[in-house]
């Protein structure tokens, strides 16, 4: 379970007014502003918002990469700021950065993360084999990942995030850049995780993506939660017939929410 309460994060960005400006001025960018929500086990929770809404920043705070400025977040009761090791052990993260080691094979990439999560070498190898089978990577398993297609890379990155069989899974735009077939198999995978009783939180800027999968939707815009509830609650609250219209009404623009 993920519990998020009034989470805040601002960045200081340095700007140079012109090429010849001697001093860069600093500006505060509020990326996440008092975000609160809860994601339950056995459910898929979608974090929906246009580009720059603060989805990635929120997920980075949950995965202990960034320290929150204010507020709290707990993963199965463990605080993300003060109990990093516990949080990291229980989380599987497919973050914004999904880079692989080019010179290592798909299998080695996956097994390496298994070892870092504390699996012994034979255990990590067995788990890597299992995931390679499940994700249909068998034909590529021994190849260096350098020449992989976008979809193949995404699969390896997902397998790497799931290698230690985490209870809570964070996925940042997991279908970004994938073709229709790869998107479908990603959806299958997410449904499988839900069926296994995992807590899945995934972010997307594409409405259809979220509508197709989520039990619960958190809509954020400019760092703030503008709606939080089930799809039927969204329809009821907005008085619209379709989710699409409801989203547009809640965010106040159509920009960036449609694929």
């Amino acid at each position: 379970m993920i519990e998020v309460c009034d989470l805040c994060k601002a960045f200081t960005v340095r700007e140079r007014r012109s090429t010849f400006a001697l001093r860069a001025s600093t500006r505060n960018v509020v990326a996440v502003d008092r975000v609160s929500f809860t994601a339950h086990d056995g459910e898929v929770t979608g974090l929906l918002g246009p580009n720059g809404a603060g989805k990635t920043t929120t997920l980075r705070m949950l995965s202990t990469l960034l320290t929150p400025d204010a507020g709290q977040a707990r993963i199965d009761g463990a605080d993300v700021a003060s109990e990093q090791p516990r949080v990291r052990r229980s989380l599987g993260v497919l973050g914004d950065a999904k880079g692989l080691y080019w010179r290592l094979s798909a299998r080695e990439n996956i097994a390496y993360f298994g070892r870092l999560h504390g699996l012994a070498a034979p255990q990590a190898a067995r788990r890597a084999d299992q995931l390679i089978d499940e994700l249909g990577l068998a034909a590529l398993a021994e190849r260096p990942t350098q020449g992989f297609s976008q979809g193949e890379r995404m699969k390896v990155a997902i397998a790497r995030a799931l290698v230690h069989n985490p209870q809570t899974v964070l996925l940042d735009e997991p279908t970004n850049g994938l073709d229709i077939m790869a998107t479908r198999s990603m959806r299958e995978l997410i449904r499988g995780l839900r069926a296994a009783g995992k807590c899945v939180l995934f972010s997307s800027h594409i409405m259809q993506e979220v509508a197709a999968l989520c039990d619960r939707i958190v809509i954020i815009d400019r760092g703030r939660v503008v709606f939080n509830g089930t799809p039927s609650e969204i329809l009821a609250a907005s008085g619209k017939r379709s989710l699409e219209d409801a989203f547009v009404q809640l965010i106040g623009s159509e920009e960036g929410l449609f694929a």
Partner: protein
């Protein structure tokens, strides 16, 4: 629906980093980085290869240059204009095993152009002047600034001087004067360069080269595991696992150090092997680079080769991209490369603190090893303490930097 988590009282316990450290994970990181690096055929593998063969190449070049000079000195032909006026001189020269090239045409322009290394011109009144006790003149025409002519001209001029002095002494004795009177002060040149030292002069380059191998071996690897990690966007996923920045830092350091030690060892081995193949005694250098010297070199270079990766890694992590890091690294490396050059050209004795300057200190001690001089305990201490200190500081900086939020996602 919004679930609110009860705000707990501000009891944030920063996680104790030291307690989280896991030796097993450290080794896992090391092993992964090492395999990953060795698979980088393009840069790492070829860097190792280049470092390994440049030693033998240098020895070969040195050997070839020295033998070429010696051959020319041995087979020296002396061009003499008006040789008929100085038959004694001709005989003396011939007795030295040199050939005479009598009356070469266009000698001045040929010396200038380098076709002749030098020429001797005997004045036409040489015989009369000599007999009359007037100064008799022989002119040595040469172009001293030309490196390859200088040793030949020097050889002939010393033969001439010896001959002239001999003649002078004989005349004084004939007149009943002791030759000592004519030379009240005897200036004698005592060359402190023993044959060993002369040999090691040439091989000072070897110290320089060995240090350089300790630098070059690590550059590509250090770049790959730091800036490369950021460029490939693999740092962020890594930091969501239980691995700590200290484990990452030490793992990367150990892997790059491994590569660097391979570079140093193979480069030295290449040197040793080629020195054994080349007949050094033929060059008049009773020079040995035996087991003792090899051990001495490794004793100096091992701490150095452990320090360098730490420093390079700290630099490498500073750049956002591999390219950016590379340029800052290159500057650092060329500055380091200049340090021993400074002590090579320095005319005065090295100040006492020179031994404690990294690179310079190593260079000085390596030279001592080559000259078979005893190395003081405090010098050995410096060889260990300075790299250890610098290495620890650099690794600390790197581990801080890896944990820094700004390192993420290439921002």
């Amino acid at each position: 629906m919004t679930t609110v988590v009860e705000p707990t009282v501000a009891t944030i316990h920063p996680t104790p980093k030291a307690a989280d450290f896991s030796w097993a994970r450290w080794l896992v990181v090391t092993q992964k980085e090492f395999t990953d690096l060795l698979r980088d055929r393009k840069s790492i593998f070829w860097a190792l290869f280049a470092v390994a063969i440049s030693g033998p190449l240098m020895v070969g070049l040195m050997y070839w240059l020295t033998t070429a000079v010696m051959d020319r000195v041995d087979k020296l032909t002396v061009p003499i204009v008006n040789a008929q006026f100085a038959p004694d001189l001709v005989r003396t020269i011939e007795r030295q095993g040199m050939k005479i090239d009598a009356d070469p045409p266009d000698y001045e322009s040929r010396v200038k152009s380098g076709e002749l290394d030098f020429a001797l011109v005997v004045d036409t009144d040489f015989t009369e002047s000599l007999a009359a006790g007037r100064p008799a003149r022989i002119t040595l025409i040469t172009e001293r600034s030309r490196d390859r002519s200088a040793p030949l001209a020097g050889r002939v001029s010393s033969v001439l001087n010896a001959w002239a002095n001999q003649m002078g002494r004989e005349r004084l004795i004939l007149r009943g004067v002791s030759p000592v009177l004519a030379h009240p002060v005897q200036v004698e040149e005592l060359d402190l360069a023993t044959p060993e030292q002369r040999g090691s002069r040439l091989l000072q380059f070897m110290s320089f080269y060995a240090l350089f191998a300790g630098l070059m071996g690590a550059i590509a690897a250090a770049l790959d595991v730091t800036a490369g990690e950021r460029e490939r966007q693999t740092l962020e996923p890594l930091l969501t696992t239980p691995v700590t920045t200290l484990e990452l830092t030490l793992g990367k350091w150990l892997a790059v150090t491994g590569i660097n030690l391979i570079a140093v060892t193979t480069s030295l081995l290449g040197f040793v092997l080629s020195l054994h193949l080349v007949p050094l005694d033929r060059l008049g250098l009773p020079f040995t680079f035996g087991l003792a010297e090899y051990a001495g070199f490794m004793a100096v270079l091992t701490p150095f080769a452990c320090m360098v990766p730490a420093v390079l890694l700290a630099f490498g992590a500073a750049g956002k991209t591999a390219k950016e890091a590379q340029s800052s690294l290159q500057m650092g490396v060329s500055l380091i490369g200049l340090l021993p050059l400074m002590s090579m050209v320095r005319q005065t004795r090295a100040p006492w603190w020179d031994a404690w300057v990294p690179v310079n200190g190593q260079y000085a001690v390596l030279n001592k090893v080559l000259r078979a001089e005893t190395i003081a305990t405090h010098e050995w201490a410096a060889m260990l303490a300075i790299p250890a200190l610098i290495g620890v500081v650099a690794l600390y900086a790197l581990s801080r930097r890896l944990g820094d939020e700004r390192m993420l996602a290439g921002r």
